[in-house]
Structures are given as structure tokens and as C-alpha cells.
């Protein structure tokens, strides 16, 4: 097999088109910004037939040209993808082959978008997301990585080689290098890294590590933040002072120092991460039990059933999460009830990320609660004689959901960045792990000679966080429209 070029035969006419369009778009956008500073203000005007007139003058021209150029650029990018999927192996270069590898993801994305846009009026806030361009772009990027993580991590699709598979002769190989071995995928699409592993496959498989940890860790941080923040905001007083002091204490810590103190093997030996896990993971149980109890405490039979079932399931999960050989918690040694074991390094990373995130969530929830508790419907509930926990969890919390959902998206992005930071300093996860932070860390060491091992994971991380930020922006915009 011959080595591949970046764009293959597609590039002969698409590459120049891409360059020209991109340059023209940048110029046009800049010209538009400059002219908008000096252009006279113009109100909307309608023509004789009642239609709105387009803006005239230089500004109007640049506005339209920017729009068309952007549209053209999107078409060219689509051309690369569609061309790559349709053309035979290797004809469309590295980009084409990557587009082909991602084919299941494209299909999943198309299906998601077709279904969501078809039924968007029945889907609540999620459906409204498809009214905002920014939200749609962000959602697209996020779902791209979610599907990649699912299909690559769960079904072994997309990635061309194993994350740890080393093939001799491919050490630091250039992107598009051909393998000499028969029977395997014939190219290293994005080249090989320092240990002769495929950069493309590691990037793809790394997404499943990040997508598995970041949302769950953020969810736990939200559980802790909500369970402590709502009462702090509602009751105020000493409780609030004390909890706020604790939150500020953690926030005043430089995050990296905290990571270095918590995620060393020595600290792991003392069992501190396990104790912290025992403490932090108890919050979801407390949250759900109080949530259900406050709702159904007037109907004891219903309450006993629901609270009992939820408590039993959560407590079982809690125990199996904690119980593990070699930690202070070893309740269920070799017993089949222990559902799963979590790698000690992973648990430490998880705990420290939750620990760092929860004070910020606490502050947000507390602020929202203090704002909402002055509303009339809270006063009405108090007059009805509802208990404080019912008011907090069933009156205040649902009404704070808008900002909380937006912050949840932003915070997943932030957690992704934190995980990357941990990987970048080689903390916690094993050095072989394919997660993006660790791969960036490995790749940067030879940065001056080979740039291809470090760039793909860096750009992947960037795009995921960007997608989450755009998604949050779209959600914020749409939730404000109500």
C-alpha cells in the first residue's frame, strides 16, 4: 500500500476552493465589522409590496457576502465528507478515509437531527434547541463525540486499530503511512505515536474515557451542590455561613495543588480518596430519599414503597461502587452482589473532580434559591403548611432548572478540561490510558520534531468543550425566550 496524502484526488479541486472561500470569508467578515462601526444607523424599512428591504450600502453588501461565503464553505466541507464516504478506499486521502470511518456517526447524527426537527414542537426545551443555530451546532458537535464514544467504546466501530496495539516500524510514523503487515487496517490515518500506536484510534477511543467520566462526575457534583445549596439558601443563617465558608475554602485552593495532593499513590494508600468517595457518593441517596419522602409523606403506604425501593437500589449501587479489594471498604469480598469494581486511579480522579466542582455548583444553587424563595408561590406553599423540604425540592428546585441545565452543560465542558489537566500532569489515570489529556502529555514531549501525535487529541478536546459551550449558549437563549 502506498502512503496516503491528506485529501487524495478530492483535493485537486476542493482544496483551492476551500482556500479561496476561507480567505474571502475572513476578509468579508473583517470588512463587515469595520464598516458596522462607521455605518449610519438604519431602521428596518419595507418596500412597496410590504416586504422588508435588505440593508443597502457597503455594510449590507458585506453582510450578504459573509453569509453566502459561509454557506459555500460549509458546502465544501460537506463535499470532503460525502466524497470521502462515497469514493473507494484511499482515493479521497486521509480526510476521506476518516470521514468513511466515522460513517456510523454521520448516520446516527442524521437520524437524530431528522427525528428531532420533525417532532421539535412536542419535545419541550430540547425541541426548542433546534430553533437556534448556535444550539444546533453545539448539539451536533457534542452528539458527534457522544456517538463516537458509544460506537467506538461499546461496539468497537470507528477506530482502525487498538488503543495499545503497537506495530513495529510505525514509531512516530507520518500521517497516512502504510503498514507493512497484512490483515490489519492498511494505514495509520493520523500517524503513529512515540510507542508506535495509532494516533487516530487513540483519539477515537479516548473520547469514550472522557464521555464516560465527565458527565457522571458533573452529575455527582450537582447532587452534592444541590443537596447542600438549597437548604443553605433557603434557611440562611448559621448553616449558610458555615457551608459558604467551606465552599470558599475549597475554591481558594489552586486546583492543581489540590490534584497533586489528592491524586498521588501515597495518598491513595492511606484510603483518603475512598473515604471522600464514601462521603460524596452518599449525597445522591440522601437527595432522592428526601425528595420522595417530602412528596409522599402524607401517603405512608406509597411513600414506604417508593422510598424503600429507591433506597435499596441506590444503596446497593453505593456499596458496590465503594467496596473493592485493597481499600478501607471491602464489605463484599468475592461476593456476587458486588456489581462492579472501579480502578483505584479512576476512582481518585473521579472523586477529586467532583470535589473541585461541587463548591461552585453549591454557590450557584444557593444564589438561585435565595432569589426564588421570595416568590409568591413559595409564600403560598408556606401558607398551605407544606414542609420546608417539600418547598425546597418541589417548589424551588424545578423553578431553578433553566439556569441549572445551562450550567450543567458548561460544567461538563469544565470537567473535561479538568480531566485533561489531570492527564496533562500524568496524575491518576494510568499512563497508557487513551484519554485526551494523557495523550496530549505524551505527544508534547516530542513536539519540536513530531507535531502529529499531540494535535489530534488537543483539537478533539477543544471541539468537545466548544460544542458544550455553544450548546449551553443555545439553551440559555431558548430558555430566556419563554
Amino acid at each position: 500500500m502506498d502512503p496516503l496524502s491528506w485529501t487524495g484526488s478530492l483535493g485537486t479541486f476542493l482544496n483551492p476552493a476551500l482556500l479561496v472561500l476561507a480567505a474571502a470569508l475572513i476578509l468579508s467578515a473583517l470588512a463587515q465589522m469595520v464598516t458596522s462601526l462607521f455605518a449610519a444607523e438604519q431602521t428596518l424599512r419595507s418596500g412597496p409590496d410590504g416586504k422588508l428591504l435588505a440593508r443597502g450600502g457597503a455594510l449590507g453588501f458585506f453582510e450578504r457576502s459573509t453569509g453566502w461565503l459561509f454557506f459555500g464553505l460549509v458546502l465544501v466541507v460537506l463535499g470532503y465528507i460525502v466524497g470521502g464516504v462515497l469514493m473507494p478506499y484511499g482515493k479521497a486521502g486521509i480526510i476521506g478515509l476518516m470521514a468513511k470511518q466515522f460513517l456510523p456517526v454521520w448516520i446516527a447524527l442524521l437520524l437524530t437531527y431528522a427525528l428531532s426537527i420533525r417532532f421539535k414542537r412536542r419535545l419541550g426545551l430540547y425541541g426548542k434547541l433546534f430553533d437556534s443555530t448556535v444550539g444546533m451546532i453545539g448539539f451536533g458537535i457534542v452528539m458527534f463525540w457522544v456517538y463516537t464514544a458509544l460506537l467506538a467504546g461499546g461496539f468497537g466501530m470507528i477506530s482502525t486499530h487498538g488503543a495499545l496495539e503497537q506495530i513495529s516500524g510505525m514509531k512516530n510514523a507520518k500521517p497516512g503511512s502504510a503498514l507493512s503487515n497484512e490483515g490489519l487496517f492498511p494505514h495509520y490515518l493520523l500517524g503513529g505515536d512515540n510507542l508506535a500506536r495509532d494516533v487516530f484510534s487513540r483519539m477515537v477511543l479516548g473520547s469514550s474515557v472522557v464521555i464516560a467520566i465527565a458527565p457522571v462526575a458533573t452529575l455527582f457534583a450537582f447532587m452534592v451542590g444541590i443537596t447542600l445549596g438549597v437548604p443553605a439558601g433557603y434557611y440562611g443563617g448559621k448553616l449558610d455561613t458555615f457551608l459558604s465558608f467551606l465552599a470558599n475554602l475549597i475554591l481558594a485552593f489552586p486546583v492543581i495543588l489540590l490534584f497533586y495532593l489528592l491524586v498521588t499513590p501515597e495518598i491513595r494508600d492511606t484510603g483518603i480518596p475512598s473515604y471522600m468517595a464514601a462521603f460524596l457518593f452518599a449525597f445522591p441517596i440522601v437527595f432522592f430519599v428526601v425528595l420522595l419522602n417530602s412528596r409522599y409523606h402524607t401517603q405512608p403506604r406509597k411513600r414506604n414503597l417508593r422510598v424503600g425501593v429507591v433506597f435499596a437500589v441506590l444503596f446497593w449501587l453505593y456499596l458496590s461502587l465503594l467496596s473493592q479489594q485493597g481499600t478501607p471498604f471491602n464489605f463484599l469480598p468475592g461476593f456476587p452482589v458486588d456489581l462492579f469494581d472501579i480502578d483505584a486511579g479512576l476512582l481518585t480522579v473521579f472523586v477529586s473532580v467532583v470535589f473541585v466542582n461541587s463548591p461552585t455548583v453549591f454557590r450557584i444553587v444557593r444564589g438561585l434559591t435565595m432569589d426564588i424563595k421570595t416568590r409568591d408561590y413559595v409564600a403560598a406553599a408556606q401558607t398551605r403548611g407544606e414542609g420546608p423540604w417539600y418547598i425546597m425540592l418541589w417548589e424551588i428546585l424545578p423553578n431553578a432548572r433553566g439556569p441549572l441545565i445551562v450550567d450543567f452543560c458548561l460544567r461538563i465542558g469544565y470537567t473535561t478540561i479538568l480531566l485533561g489537566t489531570l492527564g496533562f500532569f500524568g496524575l491518576g489515570l494510568s499512563p497508557e490510558s487513551a484519554d485526551w489529556g494523557s495523550t496530549i502529555n505524551e505527544g508534547r514531549k516530542l513536539m519540536q520534531i513530531y507535531i502529529h501525535p499531540a494535535l489530534p487529541p488537543a483539537l478533539a478536546l477543544l471541539s468537545l468543550v466548544l460544542g458544550l459551550n455553544l450548546l449551553a449558549d443555545g439553551l440559555r437563549e431558548e430558555s430566556l425566550k419563554d
Binding site: F253, P254, L466
Partner: protein
Amino acid sequence: MGLFILRRLGVMILTALCLTFIVFFLTNLEPNLEKLAKTEASVRMTDDQVVTWRENRGFNQSIFIRYGEWLGVLPGYVIEGTDGVVRARCAPRGEDVATAPTYCGVMQGQWGFSSVFKDDVLNVVSNRLSLTGWLMLSVMLVMVPASLIIGILAGMKEGSKTDRTLSTFSILTTATPEYVSGVIFISVFTTTAVGLKWFNGSARSAMDDITFVNFTLPVMTIALYGIGYIARMTRASMTEVMTAQYIRTARLKGVSFRNIVIRHALRNALIAPFTVIMLQFPWLLNGVVIVETLFQYKGFGSALVEAAVGNDIDLLLGISVVSVVIVLTTQLISDIGYVFLNPRIRIS
């Protein structure tokens, strides 16, 4: 006002004490001390030898007493060891025990001895801090004006194309953590693979002599991540001011748009960003650690990494004291500054 500052100072000192105690506790855990004993004395020590080594050097006292000694509020230990040598906390490295002072802790200016750098912690910290100070200063000089301009331009006409473009730019920068932008910058501007060898990929030479070529990339890497965040806050504050009643009055009076922005809106719109910029310092500390590691600039951040890797207890404590003080001071300044800048609070 005086009472307010006094109360804030009280909380600040309490926070600093708690934080340093947490660091003290975490660095003095059993396995860390064992590692320390083995690196200081001999790797092949038996468990018993480790125990006597620790006993002889006062490591077996209660953690609170040792924290007090480190702080300088309790007298340092004087222990006659099992090997017959008298050791005192305040007489390290063969100094005479008899003439040693009773108290020697952070408050007396004795920050201990760094086992990694073989130097006084105070020396290491102050040297490293001055190097990082240059970095921070340059970052501030780039970040603050850039983000304020972007935020004001975006916020003055909400929903305009300028606003859209600049907001997209700020979202992009907030989504780019330092280790990503650093890697991208290095590969684009320094390597032969891309061919634009405009800057240096390492800032090592900047420790002696800061030039445009060796300092641009580290500064831009840190600044970029902050720019987006501050710009978004400035934009939010600017759009809020631009919808205020007095701005509408000015427009109805016929004041030109430029005058409205510069003379009426700007002053009120810049109060909130001031707080945000001040609260950005803890973030900068984070960025500094990443960037100094990436660009091999031996400042405060890389000292943190080296101390943590080498289990240098005294240095880690010194570093955490400094960073905690920096964080808390900027918080205090932002609180006080907010009160001073905001006439509604200042006059009432």
C-alpha cells in the same frame, strides 16, 4: 467600612489557617513521611529504622503540635535521639542546639529547607515568584485591555453581527484550555513541520532575558483562556447598562452613539469586570502551572510541580501559603474595590 474590612480580614486569616492545615495534613500523611525518610536517609531502611528516624526528628508528635511548630506559635522540638544526638527543629544541619531560638516557624520567617532544591524555601519561593511575576504582569497587560475592548464592542449593540462574531471568538477561547492552545501555538509557530518559526517553543531563555520571541507564546497561551471569560462578563455588564433608563434618556436627547458609549455607559459597565478580573487570579495561578511546565519556564508553577513530584513538604507548604495569600488578597481587593467603585454602595 472599617468593620467590613476587619471582618473580611478575620475570615481571610481563618481561611488561610484552615487551608495551610489541610496542606500540612495531606503532606504529612504516613506514606509521605516514610517516603521522605527513605529519600533523606537511605532507600534500604527497615521499617524499624524509619520509625526511629522519624522519632528522632520530631515527626511522631501530634499533627496539631507540629502544625503549631511550623506556624511558629509553639516552641520547636528539642529531642535527644536514640543515637544520642540532640536535635532541635530550630537548629537544622549541625547548628548548635543550645543557641537555637525557641520558636521558628513561618511567622518568624523560617519557612524550612527545600529538599528538592537544597535551598531555603523562602529563597526558592521569592526567586520563583519574581520570575512568575513577569509572566503574570505581561499576561495582565495583554489580557485586560483585549478582553475589555472585545466585551465593550460586543455589548454595545446586542445581537449585531459584531456581537455575534466577537461572542463566538470569546466562546472559542473559553473552550481552549492552556494545554490545548499551548500545543497548537507550539506546533504552528515554532516547528519545522509548519515552517513558521516565528517564536521559541521554550521560554527557558526568558528567565534571564525576556524578548518578544521567547515570551510571546507563554503569555498568549495564558491570556487567551482568560480573555474569553472576562470579555463575556464585560459584554453582559455592557448590554445591561445599554438597556438602562438613563441611556435611553441620553439617546432621546440626541446624544451621539459614540458619546453615549464612551461618556455614559462605559464607567458603569466597567464595575463588574473589575471584580471578575480580580477573581481571575486563582485561574492565572492554574494557567501558570500548566504553561510553565509546557514552556519550561522555571517559575513558581514549575516549582509547585517539582515540589509535589519530589515530595518536598516544606516547599509545598510555602507554595500553598503564597498562593492562598494571593487568592485571598485579590478576593479582598475585589470586594473593597467593588464598594469603592459602585457609587450606590459607597454613598449609602
